[in-house]
Chain length 678, copies 2
């Protein structure tokens, strides 16, 4: 029921926005600003354009403005006269005047608001801090448009500020390592959509990814040679900071910790021996909370790490505990008895309080997953909720700050719409103002079991841009149709800062096709997606750290546009009964029906494709059924019960995944069949 309600709701939105498109001009940026007014004139761009920088700013803003100028130049081919922008050289021609009061601090809660006014002859960008200026410059860049005569910016007045203070992306670099260049391009992309936190999940069962000078055995034994040096961490933190983005390190303890014990076996709760975990899942290895060596180690190790990560928050994970190793260790059991620690949860709490003491000594505030919210925790910690909004609201009521990640697990291949409608604080929620204040925002989480640097970007983007809008824009910004239109544009713009989603898919398709023409595979992949949630692990294929992630499923996009458009058109038809829409559907279905022959030919040239042969065949049959039913609908006929039943068998068959991918137009064809059978 709820599902259906949501569905009608979305449809109404789609219709509404289509109808109202001519009435209200919407600004073509993502995230949508808090307040704006589009005006009628244009600021025309030519090679005299440049920045005048006023106010009390430091080097990083000049660098930011220089990058913006170069990005504009790259898009337009204009040979701007302005060179590297510095305090000395900042152009004084007053075409684009930047003015800000001070250099902002890259900390939780810093002022990021800005005011951007584009007039026909001058652009002004004012802000309290340079962080606000950075946000405004990204809005400005997205506003570039053109007609056949050249490039221009539409006139607009914008007053903008974020809804939430903590708007982040977590990147798991433990399961598969993501080198510095992957991290940097994603930082640039975060800045583009006004996110302000990069959370690095630096350790897990499979590896620990930071160099330690005190414990070099960590990089020797826990990394397979793939880790960030301390210099690289400093470089990443500075790079992020220059874009107004905080970096939060996470060391996930006491569980999720097999890898540590390849270097530090004595700190484990069970005897071992330990090697890096190569499989995916939840495992039992856990730090021994009953020995002082554990806390000595973290005192030293965190003492080293806090120097690398200047942010006041420090994430200790704490999720998914299993009782086994603590229960089986007699020393730990004795320790618990002696210290009146009644159960595993209390033991976890004891461990966390000891870790808290260490972090507090280093002037760090603790962040952890839901599980760390236990008795005795001070209210200056931050709870990251993977369990759901309810858990977040309860924390807030208890006085704890929280950020939401439930509903933003972008590794699970859910739709942008799903994430977009996942509001950290729905309007219906009744919380006191002080409680509301404690809900700081949220984070998209990119777990890395099933990705490599090759397809990482395609899992993060463009859906994270949609989540960024959810965190930045007013709660009232909810138009799905508009969101998707702007998301598709952002997806294109993200290439400018190096995001590889689109181009790496093209490369992967070439490899999959063994350098033959990729057209047929592209046609197929545009209507299929990887299976959702955790089902990919339960389809007879066992993935590990070293299995290939280069198959069709790895090249396939989440929330694929061609299939989405097809489903939307079917929904539109079902409401409007406009027969013209059926013609568009016919085109795609005809292509898909005929595509299988080409796919078969490709498979004979490239054995890696063999696994999707049944999927392609089913798609062909489904498309044929779709064409038949459209024919019936166009002719105003009714589908016979027996034909309907036959077609629904085809539909059921088409729901089966192959190669861990599934066809994304099945439900739409099913709707058409049901409609024709009415």
């Amino acid at each position: 029921m709820r599902q259906n309600f949501k569905y009608v709701f979305v449809l109404l939105f789609v219709l509404f926005s289509t109808l109202s498109a001519n009435d209200k001009k919407e600004i073509n940026v993502m995230p949508i600003p808090a307040k704006y007014e589009l005006l009628d004139s244009k600021f025309k761009l030519d090679n005299n354009f440049g920045f005048t920088v006023k106010g009390n700013v430091d080097e990083r803003l000049y660098q930011y403005a220089t990058r913006v100028l170069r990005r504009l130049s790259g898009r337009t081919g204009l040979f701007f006269k302005q060179d590297v922008i510095t305090k000395q050289s900042a152009n004084q021609n007053n075409l684009f005047v930047i003015d800000c009061k001070k250099s902002g601090k890259v900390v939780l809660g810093e002022n990021e608001s800005y005011e951007l006014k584009i007039n026909y002859n001058i652009i002004t960008l004012n802000a309290e801090t340079d962080l606000g200026i950075m946000r405004g410059l990204e809005t400005f860049l997205q506003l570039l448009t053109n007609d056949k005569d050249g490039y221009y910016f539409p006139s607009v007045n914008i007053q903008d500020n974020p809804r939430f203070k903590w708007r982040g992306l977590m990147i798991d670099v433990s399961r598969h390592f993501m080198p510095v260049d992957v991290i940097k391009r994603n930082i640039d992309a975060l800045a583009m959509v006004k996110m302000n936190v990069l959370h690095l999940h630096l350790s897990d069962n499979q590896s620990v990814r930071v160099e330690s000078k005190l414990f070099p055995q960590i990089q020797q034994n826990c990394t397979d040679g793939e880790y960030f040096t301390q210099e690289q961490i400093k470089d990443i933190v500075l790079y992020a900071s220059n874009r107004g983005i905080r970096v939060i390190p996470e060391f996930d303890i006491p569980w999720h910790s097999t890898a540590w014990f390849a270097a530090l076996p004595k700190l484990a709760s069970a005897p071992g021996p330990y090697t890096l975990e190569r499989n995916w899942g939840v495992f039992d290895p856990v730090f021994n909370p009953a020995i002082e060596e554990t806390y000595d180690f973290f005192d030293k190790f965190f003492g080293e790490m806090v120097k690398l990560f200047p942010d006041e928050y420090f994430h200790i994970g704490g999720d998914e505990g299993t009782p086994k190793h603590w229960s089986e260790n007699t020393q730990i059991q004795a320790f618990m008895k002696k210290n009146n620690i009644p159960d595993i949860q209390a033991m976890h709490n004891y461990f966390n309080l000891r870790i808290l003491k260490i972090l507090t000594k280093y002037n760090k505030k603790m962040v952890g997953w839901d599980e760390i919210l236990q008795p005795g925790m001070p209210t200056n910690i931050v709870i990251q909720s993977w369990r759901g909004q309810q858990s977040l609201f309860e924390s807030a009521k208890k006085g704890y700050m929280g950020i939401l990640s439930a509903g933003y697990y972008i590794d699970l291949i859910q739709s942008a719409e799903f994430h977009y409608l996942n509001n950290p604080v729905p309007d219906s929620v009744k919380l006191q103002p002080a409680e509301l204040d404690r809900i700081l925002g949220g984070e998209a989480t990119m777990w890395a079991e099933l990705v490599t640097p090759e397809n990482e970007d395609s899992r993060i983007w463009p859906r994270t841009a949609v989540i960024a809008e959810r965190f930045w824009s007013p709660s009232s910004v909810n138009d799905i149709n508009s969101m998707y239109q702007r998301m598709d544009r952002i997806n294109f713009l993200l290439e400018e800062v190096g995001i590889c989603s689109i181009k790496n898919q093209e490369m992967m398709l070439r490899r999959l096709c063994n350098n033959n023409n990729t057209k047929a595979l592209k046609t197929l992949i545009d209507v299929i997606e990887p299976v959702k949630g955790y089902t990919r692990h339960s389809q007879g294929v066992k993935y590990t750290t070293y299995t290939p992630y280069t198959r069709v499923v790895d090249a396939a996009f989440p929330d694929v546009k061609t299939a989405r458009d097809f489903r939307n058109k079917v929904d539109e038809y079902l409401i409007t009964k406009n027969i013209d829409i059926l013609k568009d559907l016919t085109n795609l279905l005809t292509t898909l029906k005929n595509n299988h022959l080409e796919i078969k030919n490709l498979i004979s040239l490239s054995p890696i494709l063999k696994e999707i042969e049944p999927l392609s065949l089913n798609l062909s049959k489904l498309s044929l059924a779709g064409l038949d039913v459209i024919n019936i609908l166009e002719n105003g006929q009714k589908l016979s019960a027996s034909a309907k039943s036959e077609m629904l068998k085809t539909v059921e068959n088409s729901k089966k995944p192959y190669g861990q991918t599934e066809i994304m137009i099945v439900s739409a064809v099913e709707k058409l069949i049901n409609e024709a059978g009415k």
Copy 2:
């Protein structure tokens, strides 16, 4: 005359290889091995495949083998059971047995030979050193093929070794900086084609790109913030060394040195003030050779640098001196007089001998461009010849070692064929054995005025693979047709190690088309190329360090395949008079004729394309002329003199470059017109 002779020669090759294709099986790898024999059986690949490693090898070979296994897995989608390969874990199933005597030294002249035998049930790879094993593994990877049933390796016996000892690529990181990830992917690509030297051109008028701990003002004032830290240099050197590749640093002195003086103005020969040069060209700033501070500085700075670069060779540039600043400086003039230094060249020699003394103290041998070959130089230096082969032979006769770069300037957008036929030691050359030994090999040089990390790879690859074959394979390997076929395949395989030529063009086309369909622009760009040589600087556009390199000319490939194939077909027709060939030509010309309408539409949507409108129009007219003349040829008619004259006007018009690009099928259409007018 010479041009025509070469042309017939090439044609004969093309014909010969076409005719002989069925007679002799050629191995499908680049570079072609010294000796090989293709056999009839197959080694079939399945997920039991793995490496058995014997002999006395160290960690880097296990890592190399692991990477090879993962690359195979990535291509085939096979879930190999073998995990990370280590001394302990190396699989003992004897399917692929690696055996080598020792870990090689990554120095000039190390043994890189190997023997690879692929039998139906076992593969063996033997070598004296692990460098030989690495070269053999790359051959092995290129041999992977498939039929409809799966993947296999053809049986083969290979005995391979390089023709030259020094096979390199120079990357200029001064004019435009190339970050670590660009360098690393190019190192992997070099390894793929068995090159063994990466030469980094680290300083020039525009910047100095290495961190100095002794002179931090260098990174502060000479880099625009873009430079390699010392840790990054060490990382690059190790990365290269693990692939059997030497890294040669070049600091280009005493000229090409404006950037240094932004940090060290007192070491310049003219008073300054100095800022980083933003323009391209040859400039006068030069180190002052008459003051001890200059030599003190290099003693300290090189003392720091030699610790980062372990190779025994160290490059000091020395090219393109201008007399101005030394002539105008009275102190220098007085110094010359006092020390009996008669002229500027002698002054340069004095400077070099002082620098030589410093390098010798640090156990380094000097490398420099032609100009450093002056009286008093010891014969253990290496001359890098940019002036030509004659200069190389003369050096060799004088007792100097040399490497050839003339003819390998890959930034000049010449054809692969041009570079391929540029033999460092043509068979006709008469040199004594000892003189021949002194010709160590050569280097492709990638000067970076007109490239950024975005299109760098497309200038280096795939043409550098062809140069690699010239340096590795026997002089008798000269088949242009075969070379192009294998080059096109290598171009695809290079994507596996991260080379971005193809995918970045796709991205650049999307940006150029403002996210509209790129098909028409792709059709156009497939038959045009950037203008050749240095003409790009003389066409009314002034490039600097900060102008955009994102235009059509920057996305266009050198030696573009579609145009090359068209020209070859025309040549084939002219010899064979086979009318069927004309049909293929008709298809492309028809597409090109009609393409202009679509280009015009694209231009209205994306103003950056405006500059190539006249080119597209000319191409359309040229194609129409081509179609008309083919019609005449097909019907066995003769072109009238007036029609011919009219058509040749169209041809002349089509030779004009626009947006610094030119149409690459003009000469072929011209040939058809002349043929029809006979």
